[in-house]
C-alpha cells in the first residue's frame, strides 16, 4: 500500500489521454487485436518489398507447389504456388492490401452515409427521424448478400463495383448507432448550453455532438470493416465479387476450393489469413468498445 497525499488537487492525476492509453493497454484483447492488425497492415503496405515474386506472374510449369514445410516444397516459393504457378506468399501479401482496401473504403462510404443520416435523425428527431428510420428499415429488410450479388451480377464484378455496392448497402448500423448516440448526446446539457450560447446548429452538430460520438463511430467502423471484408470474400467465393487475377483472399479460396481435398494448404492459407484479419479487427473493435463502455455492452 502506498502512502499518498490527501486532497485531490495535489494528487498527480494522469492526463486523460494517458489514462485512456492505459485503459486500452489494460485491455488484453485490444492489445492483441490491434497488434495483429498492425502487423497485417504493415505487411500489406510493405507487400512490394516483402513479396518474393510478382503476384501475377504465372508459371504453368510450377503449379501447385506445396509450401516449404511439405517434402516437395521449396524456399523459392515459401508458401508454394497456386494452380497457375503464381507465388502464393506474394499473393497472400497483396491480398491483404485488397482486403484492407475493401474494409477501409466500404467503411468510408457507408460511414459517411450512415453517420450523416444518424446524426440528422438523432439531432433533429421528428419527421427527419421518421424518414431516416424508414430508410433504415427499408435497408435492413433488403438481404445484403442477395442484393449485392444481384447488382454485381448485373453490373459486372470488379473491385470498385464491390466496394461501391457494399458501401451503399452497409450504412445501416452506422445510422442506427449514430442515431441513438446522437440522441443521447443531444439531450445532454452541454448541447443546450451551446445553444444558449448562441451557437449555430451546424456548429453544434460538428463541434459539440460529433466529437462525442466518434468513439461509437470507431467501434462500428471496425466491426463493419470486418463484415465488409467477409462479405467481399463471400461474393468472391461465389464468383461475383472481385475478379481474377486480383489476389483477393475470398477469390483465392474460391479458386483453390477445387483443390481442397488434396492440396489443403491452398485453401487453408488464404482462409486462415482472412480469419486472422477478421479476428484481429473484431478483437480490436471489442476492446475499443469495452474501453468506451466498460460495462461491456453488446
Amino acid at each position: 500500500m502506498t502512502d499518498i497525499a490527501l486532497s485531490v488537487p495535489t494528487i498527480p492525476e494522469p492526463s486523460p489521454t494517458m489514462r485512456l492509453v492505459r485503459r486500452f493497454l489494460g485491455q488484453k484483447a485490444f492489445v492483441i487485436g490491434a497488434g495483429i492488425l498492425a502487423v497485417i497492415v504493415a505487411l500489406a503496405i510493405l507487400a512490394p518489398l516483402l513479396a518474393p515474386h510478382d503476384p501475377y506472374t504465372q508459371n504453368l510449369a510450377l503449379r501447385n507447389v506445396p509450401p516449404f514445410w511439405y517434402q516437395k516444397g521449396s524456399w523459392l516459393h515459401p508458401l508454394g504456388t497456386d494452380q497457375l504457378g503464381r507465388d502464393y506468399l506474394s499473393r497472400v501479401l497483396y491480398g491483404a492490401r485488397i482486403s484492407l482496401l475493401i474494409g477501409v473504403s466500404v467503411v468510408l462510404i457507408s460511414g459517411i452515409i450512415g453517420t450523416t443520416l444518424g446524426l440528422l435523425a438523432g439531432y433533429f428527431g421528428g419527421k427527419v427521424d421518421m424518414a431516416v428510420t424508414f430508410l433504415v428499415t427499408t435497408r435492413l429488410s433488403m438481404p445484403v448478400i442477395l442484393v449485392a450479388l444481384a447488382v454485381v451480377a448485373m453490373v459486372g464484378g470488379s473491385l470498385w463495383v464491390v466496394i461501391l455496392v457494399l458501401g451503399l448497402l452497409k450504412w445501416d448500423r452506422f445510422a442506427v448507432v449514430m442515431r441513438s448516440a446522437t440522441q443521447q448526446v443531444r439531450s445532454l446539457d452541454y448541447v443546450a448550453a451551446a445553444e444558449a450560447a448562441g451557437a449555430s446548429t451546424t456548429r453544434i452538430i460538428v463541434r459539440e455532438v460529433l466529437p462525442n460520438i466518434v468513439p461509437h463511430l470507431i467501434v462500428v467502423a471496425t466491426l463493419e470493416a470486418a463484415s465488409a471484408i467477409l462479405l467481399e470474400a463471400a461474393l468472391s467465393f461465389l464468383g461475383l465479387g472481385v475478379q481474377p487475377p486480383l489476389p483477393s483472399w475470398g477469390l483465392m479460396i474460391s479458386e483453390a476450393k477445387a483443390y481442397m481435398f488434396f492440396s489443403f494448404w491452398l485453401i487453408a492459407i488464404p482462409g486462415s489469413a482472412l480469419a486472422l484479419l477478421i479476428f484481429a479487427i473484431n478483437l480490436a473493435g471489442d476492446g475499443l468498445r469495452d474501453v468506451i463502455s466498460p460495462e461491456g455492452r453488446a
Binding site: 446539457d189 452541454y190 443546450a192 448550453a193 450560447a197 448562441g198 456548429r203
Partner: protein
Amino acid sequence: MTALLEAQGLTRSFGVSQGMFKARRTLHAVNGINLDIRKGEVLGIVGESGCGKSTLARMLLGLLPPTAGKIALDGQDIHTLGRKGMARRVQPVFQDPYSSLNPRRTIASIVSLPLEVHGIGTAAERRKKTLDILDKVGLPQRFADRYPRELSGGQRQRVAIARALVMNPEIVVCDEPTSALDVSVQSQILNLLMDLRRELGLTYVFISHNLAVVEHIATRVAVMYLGRVVELAETEALFKAPRHPYTKALLTSVLTPEPGAGIPETGLGLAFPDPLNPPPGCPFHPRCPERMAQCSTITPRFTEHGRDAVACHLHDPELRASTPRNVVTLNANTALKQKENS
C-alpha cells in the same frame, strides 16, 4: 419594478408514447403560466419532480419553443431576438455538472465558447477574458487547460457558472444548480452565486426542490404544481404565511436539522401527481387536505393578494362568497381557458 423577462400564458406540451401498444398522449408539462421576472431579483421556483420546472426554464432560455403563450424580454418577444440575441442577455446554469460540460473540450475552450460564437475579440483577448472569469468564480488558472473529467462536481459547476457569465448576461437561469452536489459544496456554490449577484447586479431565476435553499437565496418564490404556478409570493411572506395547501404541505415536509422534532404529518394522501392524467378541477385536489366540493370540478383562478398571488379556491374572494350561478359561469370560463391552453 418593471418586468425584465415576462411570460404570458406559457404552455408547453409533449406528445409521449407509453409503450408500443398504446396511443400517444399529450402531456402538458407547462400549462398556462404567467410570470414576470423583475430586474435584480432572485425568483425561486419550487415544486415536485416532473411539475415542469425545467421545461419552464428551457422556454425562458429560448431553448424550447412554447406550444402557446409568449415570452418577452424587456417587452420584446424573444422570438425576434434570435438565438444570438438571447444568448447575450440570458444564460443558463444546469443541474448536472457532469453532462453540462463537453467532455472533449478543455475548460478554457468551454468557457470561451460564447465568445467564439459571437466573434468577440481576438484569440488572446478571449483567453484573457476566460482566465479572468475563471478567477472570478474561484477557479485557479491552472484548470484552464484541463478537461472536465479532472474536476470535482463543485469545480465543474463553477466552470458552468463562468461560461454563463462570460458574456455579461443580465439574467441567469439556474436549474437546480446545487442538487447534484454535496451539502458542503452546495454552500460554496450558493455563496458564489450570491457574491456574483451582488457584484454584477444579476437577475436570477433559481429552480430548486430544496425549500431551505430557496428560502435562503430567493427574493420571490413561485410554487409549481403539475405545470401550473399555484402560488407566487415574496419569500418572507410565503414562508411565514403560505396560502396554498400545497405550499403548506411543502413547508411542513422540510426537515430542518432539529433533533427531536419528529417527522411531520403532511396530510397528503397517497395520490400520485401524474402529469399525463392531471385531475380535473384543481390539479392538487386529490391530495389536498382542505379540499372542497368544487375543487374537483373547477380550476381555481390565479387571484392577486397584494403583491402575491395564489390559485386556490380557499383564497378566491369571489368564490368564497359565490352563489351557484357564479360557479357555473366560472366553470364555463375555465373550460374555455383550458381549451385555449391545450
